[in-house]
Structure formats: C-alpha cells, structure tokens
C-alpha cells in the first residue's frame, strides 16, 4: 500500500526516509512557486526576538533541523507569541529541548497566518502509479472528513483545475464566513509547482500541511520534504 494518507507521520518513522528541515523545505517549495508565509531563521533566542520584531507580531517559533520531522508531536512549536519577551523565552525553551540525535538545529520564526480554512497539498509516491499530486481539506477534522484527491505527476493546469473540482467540499472553496472564495489560480499554481518538484528524482514526497487560506490566498505555513538520500 502506498503511503498516501494525509497524516503520514507514523509511516515516515517506519520508513526512515530522510527529511529536510522546515527552512530547507520552505526554500525548496518557494523556489518552485509555492506561496509560503514569510519567515526567518535564528541561531539564538535573542536573534529570534529581533527577527520577530522585523516580521511583526504575533509569530510562531519552531525548533528546526533536518532530523526533526515531527515538530508538533514533540512540542517544538510555540504559537501566537505577541511580544519580544515571550519570543525570547519560548526560543530559549525550544533550544533547550533539542536532543543530541537532532543534530544541528536552529529556530524558525514566522508571522501567524489567520484564516478559517485549511487545505493540505503534497506529492506522494504510489506503488503502482508512481508520483502523484495530492490535494485535500486540512485542519483538525481532515482525517475524519477524508476529502482528498489525486492526479499523476506531471499534471497540466487543466488537470490541476479538475483536481480542485474533485474535492467534495466545494462550499469550503467558495466565499466562506466573511472571507472571499479561495483563489483557484493560486491553488493551480501550487499544484503545478508540486508537479515541477516531482521531476526531481531525489524528492520522495512533499507535504504542505497546512495551507491556510487567508484573504482567499492559500499560504503554506509548514513544509516537509522527504528526500531519497540525506542532503548536506
């Protein structure tokens, strides 16, 4: 069975596939054309606080490293920090929580992106069909709802539009609770960017989870790229 479930954390551990740090993953997907939330890296708690001031509050701070695939599960994410002092304190805690096996770590600071809707998108490998582009409804109920659809990579912009149409939760993509409709052209460009990444034989999977829809724009606030072999 291919590893195509929206939440693949358990499988990743089993397969021991090397992952890239969030910072590295963000750079890779942003270069391919995915809209990602703005962010900065920091080595120390003080630098983190400075970066937060530049980016604007509130922010999220995460501990980041190539060996850390599951930040949330390990409590390595601090959300909605509203001033420099709380950023510095949180950053110090996170650095202290690093384990020896985590290797080189740093901090990732990113402004909080707000929106009522979350999507997930990614690249997955299927045993029979090879690399597929995936799009689904995200958020805390994502697994229960199970609204996810696939296309073979590479896909055309038309395939991407039809992939979006395949989601059952179409009302979620329209104007919703005072927010404008999801910008389908942005979503198409994200799916096409994933398709471009699929051409790289070294990339095993990509997980954009979640894409938060803010003012109609789906923005990746986390990214995780699995690679075939560890990259330096």
């Amino acid at each position: 069975m291919a590893h195509v479930e929206p939440n693949r954390a358990g499988l990743l551990e089993k397969l021991f596939v090397p992952t890239l740090s969030e910072a590295h993953s963000r750079t890779l997907v942003a270069d391919a054309g995915v809209l990602v939330s703005s962010w900065a890296s920091a080595e120390t708690a003080q630098q983190a606080a400075q970066a937060a001031q530049t980016l604007g509050f509130p922010v999220a701070v995460k501990l980041c490293g190539d060996a850390i695939a599951h930040k949330t599960e390990r409590g390595l994410v601090r959300l909605k920090l509203t001033d420099a002092a709380s950023v510095e304190a949180a950053a110090a805690e996170l650095l202290a929580a690093a384990l020896p096996e985590d290797g080189l770590v740093n901090l990732l600071i990113s402004p909080m992106v707000t929106g009522n809707r979350e999507l997930i998108a990614g690249l997955v490998r299927d045993d029979q069909f090879g690399t597929c582009v995936m799009l689904g409804v995200g958020g805390v109920l994502a697994e229960a709802i199970g609204d996810v659809a696939f296309r073979l990579a590479p896909l055309s912009p038309l395939d991407a539009q039809e992939l979006i149409d395949d989601l059952a939760s179409q009302t979620l993509l329209g104007a919703f609770r005072g927010e404008p409709a999801v910008d389908r052209s942005t979503l198409v460009s994200i799916l096409c960017a994933l398709s471009t990444l699929a051409q790289d034989p070294n990339i095993v999977s990509v997980d954009l989870n979640p894409l938060i829809v803010t003012d109609g724009q789906p923005v990746a606030v986390d990214a995780l790229v699995e690679v075939a072999e560890a990259q330096s």
Binding site: V4, G130, A149, R151
Partner: protein, 486 residues
C-alpha cells in the same frame, strides 16, 4: 505501437485444438459455438484421433490444415501439449492464439513458469497470444463465437475487454437484453502476453468499435496503463469498472487474480486525468457504455426533464440537482412561450416540464423537437412514457376487448407509444442532443410497445430515471473532459 489483433478478431479461418465428443468439455463447446453463430471462415477441429464431430471432420494433425487457411488457434488442450502445438500452428500460418487452457500462473509457481515459457515461445514465433485461462472471445461483425460460455450477443458498437470472463458474459447478457450490441468481446484471462491496454489500443483503431468497456482487477504497471490509455480516450470513450476498490474487495482480488491493492482514490484521480469513464457497478458500466454508443455527445450538463408523470419529474429533478456534473437547466423563456402554445395553462411552466395531463396526440413529439433544438438545453430526460401501452395491455386482456370501441383505442395507445419513442430518437439525432427515455416499464414489461420501439430505435430504454441520470452524468463527464482538451 498498436499490436495487430486482427487475426484474433477477424481470422480467415479457425482451428480448435482439443475438441472432445463430450458435450460438457470446453473443446466441444467452443467447436459447437463456432459452428452455430454464423462464422463464414473455415473451421478445423483438431482432436486426438480422426473422425467426425458435429458433422465436422476431426483431424489428428495440424499438417492437414492447408498452409495459411487459418489465422486463429483456440487452445483447449492441457498445458504440457501446448508448446509443441504452438510451434506446429505457427508453421501452418496461424497468427493468433486464444488459450482457454487453465493451470498456468493462476495455479501456482510451476504454472507461472509454464506461462513464462509459452509467452516467450509465442513472442519467438510472432504469435498474438490471448489468455491463458480465459473464456474466449466473440466478434459479431464476422459471426465469430469462440467462447466456452454464452450468450452470443447481438452485433453492436461496444468493445469489451475484461479481466474476468464472467463479466464478459454479464455484458453479453445485458447486450442481449437491451439490444445494445457488442463489436468485440474478449476475456483477457491471465493476460500473460496481451494486456487490457493492448486490446483497448486495437479497439481505438477498430472501425467496428465506438466505445470500450473494461473490467480491471489489477494492473501490472499502473503508470504505463495510464499513459497508454490517455492516448486512446480522446478518440474512443473507455468505460471501466475497477474491482478491489475497498479493502474487502482487495482481499478478494488478491485470491482471484493475485492483484495488488491500489489506493482507490489514486485510481479515481488517474481515471479522471486519463479521461476514463469510471462506473461503480457492472450494470452502471454497461449502461454508461450503451449511452456513449447510442447518444450524441452533449456540449454540457444543462438538463431538461420532460414528463407526463409528476412524481417521477420531482425525483428526477432531485437526482439531477444532486449530480455534480449535471444541472437542472433554467427553462428558457422562448421555450416556455413555445410550450404555452401547445399545452393548457396548467402545465408546470418550469423544468421539469410536467404536461399535467394536458397533452394531446402530437404534443410530446412537438415539445421533444423544440427542446432538443434549443441551444441552452444540452440533454433531455423523457419520463412517463409507456403508460398508454400499459393501459392498452390491460384492456386487450380484459373481457370486453375488442368490443365497445376498445380495439380502436388499444391500437391508438400502442401507435402513440411507438411514435413517442421514435420522436425521441429522431429529435435526438436531428439536433445532436441526448434524449434518454426512462421508465420502470423497461424492466417490468419489456413487451410494452414503447419499450420495444425504443429498442428498435437502437437506443437504451433506462429502467429508472435515476439510472438514466447516472448514465447521462457519465456521458456529460466524458464530453466535458474531451471538450476541455480540444
């Protein structure tokens, strides 16, 4: 490159190897069926010893087949005889082999080795090899019935390739019932050398085939299948049913054909991307194929319901509204004005167009024609036909027939039913608009003159409005996929 399967489906002559005098044996049944369905080419019965069978000489050696007199060999002999048989057959000019024989890869590792040998041998000899472990094939354009099962279906435009022989029979049963016939049907068996994609590619070039219908259980290389099939679907609609869509079905498939599990949502996405029409059930797959074979392709999903039965209209409006590919079309103002001229004011003046009993002799054909011609209407579902035919049937069987003017009214009702069905087909053909006639009477009384007339018009009379809507959804879905890529 498309493999040449003509020797399989249009052979100059056929040799049946392993004929038997026992009417229960495959070798007997194949010969019987070949001799019984109108095949015009030469037929040779190859047995263990010379004699006669079914008034046909039995030969004991392929040497007795004149050079190049037969292109197809149907094999019912056991595995250990078959390598020698293939060599001898190729030497006589045989080009294609359908291997009914079982005991190959489906039977275990030894069988798998024998299968690999027979595939390699067929390749060396330049033979098309279908099967093994298949139920055979039919090719009605040339009267060829080389199968160990029944029925022999009527001639039509649907090409069937199936990984389950029983589903070949199932589709042939539906073809026989509905009159929507078959161009070619083949049981792929173990598909050792000739795969579903090979058959589909040949169907795409086959002038006798307009639609392909396919049962898939497992694919050796899903990606390759998808790449090949997406080159076919712009020219030839391909309807698929996929076995093993759930974990329960996957376990069953693993023991049936040894198929690997596929994530069903991945397959669903692949199917949409490749333009495959994916149906959920065997019955729905046949009806989708029959619809693609007999109705024009619509431009979109704006659907109009015409009905003489109010309740059916409401239920059908629900089914259309629920369907993601279909819309209940807003009734165009000019069409409403035209219908106002033809019906008393109590008609629905909305979609569904419910005649509310106001129709007279010519109303249904006239409104059908107006609606089919309207540019804002992509497709029509016609309901409520057959009622007059039902009334006629009861009257005809009652104690008062033919007196009291009953003969005349029964004739009128039956004539009208035929007219309605003919008008639906004519309006559809003339204006290139699908018109699907649906009535439960198609199932409950197939002798109803409306049902008969729909069949005579070469179209499917859908056994319920819901099934018509489902089939129309498949038709629209395929049309939209194709139109978007032109």
């Amino acid at each position: 490159m498309t493999r040449n399967l003509s020797p399989l489906f249009e052979p100059s002559g056929v040799v049946v190897a392993g004929v038997s005098s026992h009417p229960g044996k495959f070798g007997f049944v194949v010969l019987h069926n070949l001799l019984s369905c109108g095949y015009q080419g030469q037929i040779f019965a190859l047995g263990r010893s010379a004699g006669t069978l079914l008034d046909q000489p039995v030969i004991a050696s392929l040497d007795e087949v004149p050079q190049d007199a037969a292109e197809l060999l149907v094999v019912c002999t056991p595995p250990d005889a078959n390598e020698e048989l293939l060599r001898a057959a190729a030497a006589r000019g045989i080009k294609a082999v359908f291997m009914v024989t079982g005991g190959y890869s489906e039977a275990g590792p030894e069988g798998a080795k024998a299968e690999a040998r027979i595939v390699a041998l067929a390749n060396d000899l330049g033979l098309v090899l279908a099967g093994p472990n298949g139920q055979g094939l039919v090719s009605p354009p040339v009267g060829l019935c080389a199968q160990i099962v029944a029925p022999y279906p009527p001639l039509g435009r649907i090409g069937v390739a199936s990984q389950s022989g029983n589903f070949v029979s199932a589709f042939e049963n539906y073809a026989t019932q509905t009159g929507i016939g078959i161009s070619r049907a083949v049981s792929a068996g173990n598909a050792a050398a000739t795969s579903l994609a090979d058959y589909l590619e040949w169907f795409a070039d086959d002038p006798e085939t307009d639609v392909a219908l396919c049962y898939i259980e497992g694919l050796k290389d899903g990606r390759a299948f998808a790449e090949r099939v997406r080159k076919i679907t712009p020219h030839l609609p391909v309807v698929v049913v996929k076995g093993g869509a759930t974990s329960g079905g996957q376990k069953a498939a693993a023991s049936h054909t040894g198929s690997l599990a596929t994530n069903d949502r991945v397959f669903d996405g692949v199917a949409r991307q490749a333009g495959l029409v994916r149906a959920a059930t065997i019955e729905s797959a046949f009806e989708a194929a029959a619809t693609l074979a007999t109705q024009p392709l619509p431009l979109g999903g704006q659907t109009l319901v015409l009905t003489t039965a109010g309740g059916w209209g409401v239920i059908t409006a629900d089914a259309i509204t629920r369907h993601r590919r279909l819309n209940l079309a807003p009734l165009p103002k000019d069409l409403q004005a035209s219908i106002d001229q033809l019906l008393p004011p109590r008609w629905s003046r909305n979609n569904p167009v419910d005649f509310a009993g106001g129709e007279t002799r010519d109303t249904i054909p006239e409104i059908l024609n107006l609606a089919a011609a309207h540019p804002d209407i992509d497709a029509i579902v016609q309901l409520g036909l057959g009622i007059q035919g039902n009334t006629a049937a009861l009257t005809r069987l009652g104690p008062f027939y033919p007196d009291h003017g009953l003969e005349r009214i029964v004739d009128f009702h039956e004539r009208q039913e035929r007219r309605y069905a003919e008008a639906a087909a004519e309006a559809s053909s003339k204006h290139h608009t699908p018109v699907l006639v649906a009535s439960e009477i198609a199932a409950t009384d197939p002798r109803n003159p409306m049902v008969q007339a729909v069949k005579d018009s070469g179209r499917l009379c859908y056994a319920s409005a819901d099934r018509a809507v489902e089939a129309l959804g498949h038709l629209v879905s395929y049309a939209q996929w194709r139109n978007a890529r032109r």
